[in-house]
């Protein structure tokens, strides 16, 4: 097996591209990221590593970035690779605007990013990008919100809600159990609740951004996140109390 994992252009006898699978491992070690699609809102949340004391968090790069006015991206995995991919995607968004005088659709830019990731799995002397991305946005004409995910192999798919990175399986399980069509604040709450399954609570450790059709991407302030987290904890406590209450009487 060791002979087949050096160069990525080589298949192993049982059909694996080991470098791609190792890239997926790198993703699994990255910070958790979650995306939830509502009827009029799409939300991205990422786990934030607590900043070192001397780190200047005001100027540090945010983890949820704009690709265009109506498209945003979050990723899990090698952040340095992310910068390269994001720059290429931003150029492609503008190039598309220039050549067809139209903003990109979410599907188009996802296809472009996935195509780029695939190119690096079929070239000599390069390694795959070690990240999976979550891409959210609104269709420029129909206004329909979308959430897409790409991974190092270059595949992409559309989701109602998904997670990637550390403990993504637990988050996805939670989402599968608790997902329902939401809008506005409810969508934000659902995304934060999902992220809280694997992250210690507090605005310090979560970064959340909300996109709406009219207002584009809005990064939530720490205080706002704290407020919503407090709401969620209160709801949880109330649910616990309700469960215990009737049982005690009986």
């Amino acid at each position: 097996m060791a002979r087949y994992d050096r160069a990525i252009t080589v298949f192993s006898p049982d059909g694996h591209l080991f470098q791609v699978e190792y890239a997926l491992e790198a993703v699994r070690k990255g910070n958790a990221a979650v995306g939830v699609r509502g009827t009029d809102t799409v939300v991205l949340g990422v786990e934030k590593k607590s900043a070192a004391k001397l780190q200047d968090s005001r100027l540090s790069v945010r983890k949820i970035v704009n690709l265009d006015n109506h498209i945003a991206l979050a990723c899990a995995g090698l952040k340095a690779d992310a910068r390269v991919l994001i720059n290429r995607a931003r150029i492609e968004c503008q190039s598309h605007r220039l050549t067809v005088e139209d903003p990109v659709t979410v599907e188009y830019i996802t296809r472009y990013i996935a195509g780029l990731q695939q190119k690096y799995t079929q070239s000599g002397g390069v390694r795959p990008f070690g990240l999976s991305t979550l891409i959210i946005g609104f269709d420029p004409y129909t206004g329909v919100p979308s959430l897409y995910q790409t991974d190092p192999s270059g595949t992409f798919s559309a989701w109602k809600a998904n997670a990637t990175g550390r403990n993504s399986n637990s988050i996805r399980e939670f989402l599968e159990k608790n997902y329902k069509e939401t809008s506005g604040q409810e969508t934000i709450k659902l995304a934060i609740r999902a992220l809280l399954e694997v992250v210690e609570s507090g605005g310090k450790n979560i970064e959340v951004a909300v996109m709406t059709k009219d207002q584009g991407l809005r990064q939530l302030e720490e205080s706002e996140i704290d407020g919503i987290v407090a709401e969620i904890e209160a709801e949880k406590a109330a649910a616990e109390a309700a469960k215990k209450g009737p049982a005690r009487d009986a």
């Binding site: 290429r88 150029i91 050549t99 067809v100 005088e101 070239s123």
Partner: protein, 273 residues
Amino acid sequence: MKLDTTGLESALPLFGANCQMVDGFTAAPAFDLPTTLDFDGFQKEAIQMVKPAKGTTTLAFIFKEGVMVAADSRASMGGYISSQSVKKIIEINPYMLGTMAGGAADCQFWHRNLGIKVCRLHELANKRRISVTGASKLLANILYSYRGMGLSVGTMIAGWDETGPGLYYVDSEGGRLKGPRFSVGSGSPYAYGVLDSGYRYDMSIEEAAELARRAIYHATFRDGASGGVASVYHVGPNGWKKLSGDDVGELHYKYYPVTPSTVEQEMVEVSGA
């Protein structure tokens, strides 16, 4: 081992030939340049040779019910009429039309290329039709990349897309204009006269068709390089439809019927002696 760096190239060039073209042709049109002492002069001559060939009348305008497109059908080589039955309205796809003025081969080729390689591929890749804006922009970029090489194209792209009716004028100098009314060709001044004075936004389809037909007729009446058949097409929300193709000679007698003049003296048969 030589590193394969094709994956590291930058994405689409920001202008110039669209990347989709790269698969069909070489990245830039490359052929041996002729060895002359004065290459710029040679280029100018090449353009001058083709320039007079925009002997035609085409017009298009947007109105309440969509876009009306009309053209004559004469092809002339100097003073010789080489054909009276040229199709100058090219069907790019079921909801977009292009008009031909300039070099017939250039117009036909690039319109067909636009329809298949650009518009159809875009539809298949993106699961939605390309906009008139996008199609005309891509054509203009392609023509711009051949600027100075002797292409002669003066075309109007008319169509109906998600944003409604669209009309663009695109030429081989690389120019692209959006507008509500255009006429292209040697007969265009005459057509503009009729079109501009008779135009109203809220016409019915029949009124607009009659206006287009009359404008083409008047252009063919005065311009020697235009004639043949006046074709009129309408582009609506469900695509284009050919409305009529009338011989301009017959149109003349329809608009100006021969009135029998009063006879002063009639010749009577003289009975043979």
